[in-house]
């Protein structure tokens, strides 16, 4: 259901963009939407991170993936179960750049017997890594539209990405990889029954949306063509905060579609599962050192317990105690003075 609905949804978005292009609603699609989308993305991400940071994490959550530091003759796993901030940084590096946790992915199958088999499964990890890295490289390459003097790092990325020198304009490897990887990730959800069962529209939609963005980009670069000098004049006008009042001629409907889908992605990003981009940095099982046995952790919202002695108690209730005949240590007249001094 979700698999089809998300197609219909993205198709509707594409139609909206085409209608916008046909009606030449540049001020809406070319100025208002992009600015609103970028603002929503940045503010949204900040809000989400601040909200996460507000929830207390009273204890270290050491989900151990390696041997904890203990006796000197037991080999300690410094990265999988770090006790120091440096160990945590290395663990985070592997998590963010290489998806270490996903690498542990396993599959469980029932064989004849009945006999349960568990094995490692790296396909999800591979496709996920391929997809995310391609996405990042494409974003970096896109900086050529947003900088007057294209930075060296961007040119190097372009050079390496087109290293195979296939065709003109040169084929970027990441373009193939991203489309291939998203296709795999999509069909993984459709075909594997267990995964399909737990997949919601919110799982399919981002895949279809990003596929359509990359697809429209690929169409624009290799097939239908656009007037790129015009595109850059337009994008530069956006980032210099002096937006053009009409889309340059020759840019074509396909660019409107690409742009509008990107705007939708940006708006959708902070409020959907895609926000794991920020979330991965905030995940307590990854970003905390397992030093529960080394450092004392005090529950941060614990109210301070001041303690209450029998003297305090008698001070509060002396009158009542006397009135019902309970023996008291000190008589009424003395009660005003602090007990400690009397001792």
């Amino acid at each position: 259901m979700g698999a089809i609905m998300s197609f219909v949804g993205v198709l509707a978005l594409v139609l909206i963009a085409i209608l916008g292009a046909k009606a030449n609603l540049h001020l809406v699609f070319g100025v208002l939407f992009p600015y609103a989308a970028v603002l929503t993305l940045l503010i949204g991400l900040t809000v989400r991170v601040v909200r996460w940071a507000k929830s207390p994490v009273p204890f270290r959550i050491p989900t151990t993936c390696g041997q904890q530091k203990s006796l000197p003759w037991i080999k300690h796993s410094r990265i999988e179960n770090p006790t120091t901030i440096w160990g945590v940084l290395v663990r985070m590096f592997f998590e963010v750049f290489l998806f270490r946790s996903l690498f542990r992915n396993t599959k469980i199958e029932m064989h004849k017997g009945p006999h349960l088999a568990q094995g490692s499964s790296k396909w999800l990890w591979m496709a996920g890594l391929a997809f995310h890295w391609s996405f990042l490289i494409i974003l970096i390459r896109h900086l050529r539209f947003f900088t007057e003097e294209v930075p060296f790092a961007v040119s190097v990325t372009e050079y390496l990405d087109s290293f195979l020198q296939i065709g003109v304009p040169l084929l970027y490897m990441t373009d193939l990889v991203i489309l291939g990887a998203i296709t795999f990730l999509y069909f993984r959800r459709v075909i594997i029954p267990q995964v399909s069962y737990i997949s919601l529209p919110a799982d399919y939609f981002p895949l279809v949306l990003i596929f359509s963005i990359a697809g429209s980009g690929v169409l624009m670069r290799y097939f239908t063509k656009t007037h790129i000098v015009g595109v850059k004049a337009y994008t530069m006008s956006l980032v210099s905060l002096r937006p053009m009042m009409s889309m340059p001629e020759g840019v074509g409907t396909i660019f409107w579609v690409h742009l509008f889908l990107v705007c939708v992605l940006f708006v959708y990003f902070p409020w959907s599962k895609l926000v794991h981009m920020a979330g991965v940095f905030m995940s307590p099982t990854r970003n905390m050192a397992n030093n529960s046995r080394i450092v004392r952790h005090v529950n941060p919202w614990q109210t301070k317990y001041k303690g209450r002695t029998y003297v305090d108690y008698e001070n509060d209730f002396r009158e009542k105690m006397i009135s019902v005949g309970v023996p008291v240590e000190k008589q009424e007249s003395e009660s005003a003075e602090p007990a400690a001094e009397k001792e």
Partner: protein, 132 residues
Amino acid sequence: MYDKGKVIVGLVVFLGFATFPFYNNIGKKSAVPEPNLKTPVIEQMVVKKCIEPKEIMRGEHMQILNQWRDTVVREGERKKMTIGGVEIDTSLQKGCLHCHSNKKKFCDACHNYLSVKPYCWDCHFDPKERDV
């Protein structure tokens, strides 16, 4: 907020990267390149036209070059054609650059603007600039 220091540093770094295109360009007026057509050959043309209309040339010129290359290098066919009274070869130097003999002010103007670096000039001559 817990771990305020670290979270804020992280957010600032992220926002710094994400808004880089904005604070790097704010208020600037960037020069859009205008490919210069003032060359001896083009000046003499009565009807100033390219192989295809301008709008198509902008997007497809690399594909035209690619086709020419294939016909010359792979099929061994060197063709001649006449465009607006100018006779040219299906060739980089003797074709495109016969008319567009001001590579720096024409081809490079666009390419530098968009950080396109055709590797053709690794082998092919970078011709002598001729413009008017």
